[in-house]
């Protein structure tokens, strides 16, 4: 089983595009390969933007959990 310990939880609620994505990138920059970072966003744009970015950059979207109007994206730095 891969390690699912969250290295960093980022609360980007209240921030609009491109805020949550940039906060996630900041978190992943400081993470090591294999580590997992989570970002919580209530910007509807993040639902498109973050999964698309993760796919393009080639990281792994471990989970996207939506509760009410907010989503927590869990991303692994795979390289």
């Amino acid at each position: 089983m891969p390690d699912l310990t969250i290295k960093q939880e980022i609360d980007a609620r209240g921030s609009a595009c491109p805020g949550p994505l940039m906060e996630l990138i900041r978190g992943l920059k400081s993470a090591s390969v294999g580590e997992v970072v989570a970002v919580l966003s209530n910007d509807p744009g993040s639902n498109k933007d973050i999964p698309e970015w993760v796919q393009k950059i080639g990281y792994e979207l471990v989970a996207a959990e939506t509760t009410g109007n907010q989503t927590r994206f869990v991303v692994r730095k795979t390289k």
Partner: protein, 139 residues
């Protein structure tokens, strides 16, 4: 996909500043190098403190009627001031901002009059030289 994106920012209106800095962020997210050449009214918006001065925050005349609605929506959604978006992009990626030398002279500006996000002054040939192999966008 080119790995460099160069922006020519001519306009100093809020919509253009927000769009240019947001697209800069997207380019940084995709691992691109970004160079922003700031000229004419775009340069005017980079005077120290202008970004926070309500009198200096303008929309194009055609869209002036939407200013209150835009301001309200930006506050409600938590849209950051464009200069903060630019600072974050610079911090996380390779973004350089150059002031147009001719505009500096026309407006009587020195680098010290501009926000610190400006990396230096460049002439048009320098900017065009930098744009080789880059995707160029005009705002």
């Amino acid at each position: 996909m080119a790995d460099k994106m160069n922006l020519i920012l001519m306009n100093g209106t809020l919509d253009k500043l927000l769009a240019a800095t947001t697209i800069t962020s997207g380019a940084v997210a995709m691992g691109k190098e970004v160079t922003i050449f700031v000229t004419f009214w775009g340069l005017n918006a980079f005077r120290k403190g202008a970004w926070a001065d309500p009198a200096a925050q303008k929309l194009p005349a055609d869209y002036q009627q939407y200013a209150p609605a835009l301001k309200e929506a930006m506050q409600r959604m938590g849209v950051k001031p464009w200069i903060e978006t630019l600072k974050t992009a610079k911090e996380l990626g390779n973004v350089k901002v150059y002031a147009c030398g001719l505009t500096m002279d026309m407006f009587g500006l020195k680098l010290a009059d501009l926000e610190d996000v400006v990396d230096g002054e460049k002439g048009v040939a320098g900017f065009v030289g930098d744009s080789e192999g880059a995707q160029v966008l005009v705002f």
